[in-house]
Symmetry: C2
Subunit: 334 residues, 2 copies
Amino acid sequence: MNKPYVLGIDIGGTNTVFGIVDARGVVIASSSIKTLKHADFNDYIDELHTEVTRLLKANDAEDKILGIGIGAPNANYYTGRIEACVNLPWPMPVPLAQTVSEKFGIPVAITNDANAAAIGEMTYGAARGLRDFIMITLGTGVGSGIVINGQLVYGHDGFAGELGHVIMKRNNGRLCGCGRTGCLEAYCSATGVARTAREFLEIRSDDSLLRQLPLDSITSKDVYDAAVKGDKIANEIFEYTGNILGEAFADFTAFSSPEAFVLFGGLARSGDLLLRPLRESMEKNMMKMFKGKVKVILSELKEADAAVLGASALGWEAGKANTAPSPVAMPTQA
Amino acid sequence: MNKPYVLGIDIGGTNTVFGIVDARGVVIASSSIKTLKHADFNDYIDELHTEVTRLLKANDAEDKILGIGIGAPNANYYTGRIEACVNLPWPMPVPLAQTVSEKFGIPVAITNDANAAAIGEMTYGAARGLRDFIMITLGTGVGSGIVINGQLVYGHDGFAGELGHVIMKRNNGRLCGCGRTGCLEAYCSATGVARTAREFLEIRSDDSLLRQLPLDSITSKDVYDAAVKGDKIANEIFEYTGNILGEAFADFTAFSSPEAFVLFGGLARSGDLLLRPLRESMEKNMMKMFKGKVKVILSELKEADAAVLGASALGWEAGKANTAPSPVAMPTQA
């Protein structure tokens, strides 16, 4: 193959990270620009093109890129656009795939961050060989990418896989960033864990290492550190979090009966503090026919490379898509 | 095509109904035998073969059957077996697909009733042309068949799509037939509606036509009849049921973002008594990005023919599957 690489681009609210990736998932080289520097989207694309070209030249990779994959918030695989995103400065919708494809002369496919993570895990990571799994990203929010029969689930409108927003508490649930109450994300994200800590500390009176910190500044990392030191309340916060995740996973299993859940993100690195109660709760809450069948495993992608790897995995798909109709944006001059 | 028909077989707890179906979904002829008559599975298959052969001869359809599709409780598409079912008299698992295929010399595929209904609806009914929809059967229980990207979702083990058993009430939920509490099925099946009626009548003191009936004998049909006559409690029972279904549909949408939910079964025939609160609740409980996008429609298959049509639709797939590996059981003499 004379085009042995793909380019992965991860557009975050702060940085846009991009990297050249080979077929085994090695990030050959990577760099980044600031996402918010340009209020004009075309100026942003110009700088991205300049910096990517510089990276390609420095690594003798010009004309060796098969396709470009982009992960971005609310990016729609079908339309190739970012439909709406309050964290990006450009007028919505942003015609991302078409613009990048025209600028670089390379096929482009885009999707949201969690879907990119799922494809990355399937291509290079813990989900290699799995045809049915659900990727769950436990970061600031709870994201998901669902793979069924070897294919990512985009749904009718391209927005499937919003599992952070299934309702876990139908009464008296916490307000979620989406405007509704009781969502999984309001409990089981890093911010959800911090909220649980504040609730526990307010409601209870027993001692805790966490009481040494200002209530409003407590993070999930603080809870982790206290739990590792044997703090009772901190451990119970992980118990509470894992329990809700397990309830959710039991319901998700009734939907698509996956072989595994693959966890990614800061909270997933809590290890057995989270995994033990999660697995126990999942098994306890599952239908009998599913018990003992579903694995909960951790991502095998390096945290620093994961976003670029995830996006890049979609580049292989884009590069192989030669036939219309396809959600892949093809450069018109190609 | 010299084999213009398929055979659909629906194995129920009481009757086994079978019919010859053409490509447009017309049931050319149908008949039935008693499912429970034979404790020996092979005796059952012998009688089924005799009666099907009689039907084929009478309709000049011998050698014109492309494939056989079977819908049966807990039938697994991948293994071709009924894995476990308390309502059938034979030792489990039952090697259904292989046995029927050998006996008839015709390719056979099997799945459970709700999945068969989904395939039937996609092949001949309200879901023609839809690539992403969720079939919900509201009968004695709540069944589901999920179609994503034009394909039925079987999941890793063949048992995906148990949406009647997602948990809608995490606290103080009703006991479900599956042994757990709070399942959708415990509220939104025909029996669930009858249970709601008993609860409402016990807890409340206002008058109702339903109070003229012995509490334990009230059925969902009784509730429907009273509601049509303007009975307040009966109407509120439908409101309560539709509300829970709408909450569930909002969550299902966050999973696979379907174009439509297709409803089938006795309760679905309640019309706007159920559909109005269901649609209102679904829209109210949905994430903003999905609002106004998802249709709730009714099955277009005739109730009497639906089970046979659903099963038969799988027969086309079985008939076209000539390559191994495939979940379709092929007769060895073929």
